[in-house]
């Protein structure tokens, strides 16, 4: 089936279009699903991606020559019809829908099914081959309701007026989503952000996403941040950087926080189970919904999802893609 599309360790090659999807090595023609570094690399000759993803890549890798593809817009490359459809993962994230020789292939990149104030919701597209992620491909991963996690954060904040809450969140996507979710729960106070988040937050704001008042956490007296929320990349949580903060309670927003020992390993005191990836129920529900003839699993806990497909009479295979997901995002 679909001999025109080939999985390789360095990406998925679309032969008639002579283009690679999310290649991990520089390629002449690259179709990119979204801006996370394990999907969008620098150094490609020409990139096709959404306007938002191109902007994110521009911010991270400097200017790249690229063609912006709007959601729903059809383009043709070497006899392949290509459409970008919202994936619900982060700003600009898309599933790439490819049609050729009467077959339809959907490459999801990363996706989730929950609502996210910073991006358009995932649109299921029925297809012959469904290429899915499996970051949280184990049935222990069932993300709770986002609002209840936000409320736990706000409860801890109000119970500790002399401290601050330092939330570790991935710099692209999670940080902005957490801020927007807090605003949606009625938290209007200024939120302090780590320097590494400033440009990405500004980019989100340029795309019309309102995050309320953001203040740099650098160059501010510690006591000013008491009773406030500070957002930083996960790498800064246990870093010397956090010493400037007023007795911070360390929180982390990630799907991995579901497993308590994961939280302990990262010295997290307030684990918030908020993920930009599909949980187990979302993965299996989505496969049922798009009802493919065959499912390809790109990265994550592929063994369990493969087993689930087999026991549900769904043909499936695991692709060993290199360099994907070493747990920092989630």
């Amino acid at each position: 089936m679909a001999h025109w599309i080939e999985p390789h360790p360095t990406g998925i090659y679309v032969r008639p279009a002579d283009a690679w999807i999310d290649p991990s090595l520089p390629q002449e023609r690259a179709l990119v699903t979204h801006g996370h570094a394990d999907h969008a690399r620098g150094g490609h000759g020409h990139v096709w991606a959404t306007r938002e993803t191109l902007a994110i890549m521009g911010l991270r890798y400097g200017t790249a020559s690229g063609t912006a593809v709007g959601y729903g817009e059809e383009i043709r490359l070497g006899g392949v019809t290509i459409r970008y459809v919202p994936a619900g993962h982060v700003l600009g994230s898309a599933q790439i829908v490819l049609e050729h020789a009467d077959e339809r292939v959907v490459v999801t990149g990363d996706y989730k099914r929950r609502s996210d104030p910073t991006c358009l919701p995932f649109e299921p597209v029925p297809c012959d081959i469904f290429v899915t992620e499996a970051t949280f491909g184990l049935p222990v991963f069932r993300h709770p309701d986002t609002r209840s996690e936000m409320d736990r954060l706000l409860t801890a904040l109000h119970a500790n007026p002399d401290r601050c809450i330092l939330v570790g969140a991935y710099a692209l996507g999670k940080a902005q989503r957490v801020i927007c979710e807090l605003r949606a729960r009625g938290h209007q106070a200024p939120i302090y952000i780590h320097g590494a988040l400033e440009r990405m937050c500004a980019l989100y704001q340029d795309f019309g996403i309102d995050m309320g008042e953001l203040r740099p956490a650098t160059g501010v007296a510690a006591k000013e941040m008491r009773g406030h929320i500070v957002v930083s990349p996960p790498s800064a949580l246990n870093d010397r950087w956090s010493r400037r903060l007023p007795d911070p309670i360390t929180a982390m927003a990630s799907g991995w926080m579901r497993v308590r020992q994961r939280a302990r390993q990262k010295n997290v005191e307030l684990p918030l189970v908020i993920s930009d990836h599909a949980d187990w129920d979302e993965l299996t529900d989505t496969i049922r919904e798009v009802a493919p003839n065959e499912t390809w699993i790109t990265h994550g806990r592929e063994e369990a999802l493969l087993h689930w497909c087999m026991t549900h009479q769904i043909r499936a295979r695991a692709l060993a893609l290199v360099g994907r997901e070493e747990e920092d995002e989630g």
Partner: protein
């Protein structure tokens, strides 16, 4: 149940001792009766429900989910109760998992107390459906009888004391006169009644502990030397009517060693080392391996007691009859102890002998020559030291013997448990045979720093050559310097060797695998 499960979560995530104490104190002030009393019993290890066995929980989840997905999940998460808590299918009609507030902690405990073994899994399943993942975790931990949230009974009691402005030693004194859910304790703490009277109950006294010896020598005219035995420190408290055994943390372990508790009928408090008799059962102490068979059991079979007979090697006499000896100099207590020994059964009690050394150099030689399996090192006690709680500078020192080391090669790795559940942190290592093959000689999962663990984990992931379930076989290239206290003949291992307390001393990135040690070389170290 939500208040209790949130307390447990908080205790898991909070690192600092003060933070944990504050959480316990807040709970003890705020939770309703009798929930808080039951929680205190659970935290101090005094709630032994054991309504269901771990195997029954495994069966419950296998009946509700795909067994293979369960196995994969368990391998990933590392803890049975947590895996099942996370995996438990939510009832169909429920949009999201939540604790619906219909179960109080005391209702749960009541149900678990009164349910039969046969009916327990169904009762448990019904309760699980009303809880969220944290609640299910707490419930499973309660139902299997092992909370294990990383706090000692002492810390829980300290938190309780802090909640009501009490002195924890006062709480400790009355503690063993009370039973869960401790209504009398809360009445006293909140000023509704007088302090419960502990007299006549065998209550715990805080242990005296030693500092590691850091100076090069001490003057043996001031200090007495005694072997440090490799068992577990215990305190024997007898009232004449009842005897209890306490561990260093103040946990009552009488149930694990009933033969000791029964053999002591005196009215006294003694400090000693609990040991198991060796193969010959001639009174020699066996290695810690043998004692381990007896640890952590709340009940013990006749066969266990026959195969691993326990005895106590006595160090000190704290109280004799109504006379408190703790303020006396060690030398005088020692004389009293030696006299007291004569009334004890030699089957179950012996005296920790002093080491006769004229000077420190001779003592060092004696220590270096000791390879008895049950000797961990040497204790140095100031001859005039009173028996005081905790570690007091310059009174007692422990001087552990130097470890042996060998250069071994990493062969297999497995993910750890607890906070290492994602790291390959358990390593099987081997040495060369005369035929040039590698034979596993031991397993270690400690000794390295956090940074080294990250490096080792990466090494395992990047050098995997085969997988057997959770075990990875690695390229046989990495030399690990392994330190161990002693090495023994063993029938259980292919190499016929067993190391005592092996740990990774150094990662020898510089050393070629061909230059690692041989099995023959290790055999020469057998004590």
């Amino acid at each position: 149940m939500r208040q209790f499960s949130q307390l447990l979560d908080g205790l898991v995530y909070t690192r600092s001792r003060n933070g944990k104490l504050a959480l316990i104190a807040a709970y003890m002030r705020e939770a309703p009766d009798p929930d808080r009393g039951w929680a205190l019993a659970a935290l101090t290890g005094n709630l032994d429900l054991k309504a269901v066995k771990a195997s029954a929980i495994g069966e419950m989840i296998r009946a509700r989910t795909d067994p293979i997905l369960y196995e994969m999940s368990r391998d990933y998460v590392g803890d049975l109760a947590e895996t099942v808590a996370l995996l438990w299918p939510k009832p169909e009609e429920q949009p999201a998992e939540l604790d619906d507030g219909s179960l109080s902690l005391s209702a749960v405990i009541d149900r678990l107390h009164n349910v039969s073994r046969a009916a327990a899994p169904d009762a448990l399943a019904q309760m699980m459906d009303h809880l969220d993942a944290s609640g299910r975790f707490a419930l499973l931990k309660l139902a299997t009888g092992g909370l294990r949230v990383g706090i000692s009974a002492r810390l829980a009691k300290t938190g309780f004391a802090q909640a009501f402005g009490l002195d924890v030693d006062d709480v400790e004194q009355v503690w063993h006169a009370l039973a869960p859910p401790y209504a009398a304790l809360f009445d006293w703490a909140e000023g509704r009644s007088a302090r419960p009277d502990p007299e006549g109950t065998p209550y715990f006294r805080p242990f005296m502990l030693a500092h590691p010896l850091e100076s090069d020598s001490v003057d043996l005219t001031d200090y007495a030397a005694e072997w440090k035995w490799d068992g577990i420190r215990i305190q024997i408290v007898g009232t004449g009517k009842e005897t209890r055994l306490y561990s260093r943390a103040g946990d009552d372990i009488s149930g694990s060693f009933p033969e000791i508790a029964q053999a002591f009928t005196g009215h006294a408090v003694l400090d000693g080392e609990l040991l198991v008799k060796g193969d010959a059962q001639g009174g020699e102490a066996a290695s810690f391996n043998a004692l381990q068979q007896r640890l952590g059991r709340k009940a013990v079979s006749a066969k266990m007691m026959a195969d691993y007979p326990a005895f106590v090697r006595l160090y000190d006499l704290l109280i004799e009859g109504d006379e408190d000896l703790r303020a006396l100099p060690w030398e005088q207590r020692r004389i009293r102890l030696e006299a007291y020994m004569t009334q004890l059964s030699p089957d179950r009690f012996d005296l920790s002998a002093l080491i006769d050394a004229p000077d420190f150099e001779t003592l060092a030689d004696i220590r270096a020559g000791a390879r008895d399996a049950a000797i961990e090192g040497v204790m140095l006690k100031r001859r005039d030291s009173p028996y005081v709680a905790g570690r007091k500078a310059a009174l007692w020192y422990k001087w552990k013997r130097d470890p042996l080391t060998a250069d071994c090669i990493m062969m297999y790795a497995q993910r750890g448990h607890g906070k290492r559940s994602s790291f390959y942190s358990d390593y099987t290592f081997g040495c060369w045979t005369e035929d040039g093959e590698l034979l596993p000689v031991g397993k270690a999962y400690s000794g390295f720093t956090d940074e080294e663990l990250k490096w080792l984990d990466r090494f395992v992931r990047q050098n995997t050559v085969a997988r057997f379930g959770p075990v990875r076989e690695v390229e046989k290239t990495l030399v690990l310097e392994v330190a161990f206290d002693s090495i023994h003949d063993s029938k259980r291992h292919k190499s016929a060797l067993a190391m005592r307390f092996p740990r990774i001393a150094r990662i020898r990135k510089d050393k070629p695998a061909a230059e690692a040690d041989t099995v023959e070389g290790l055999k020469r170290l057998v004590s």
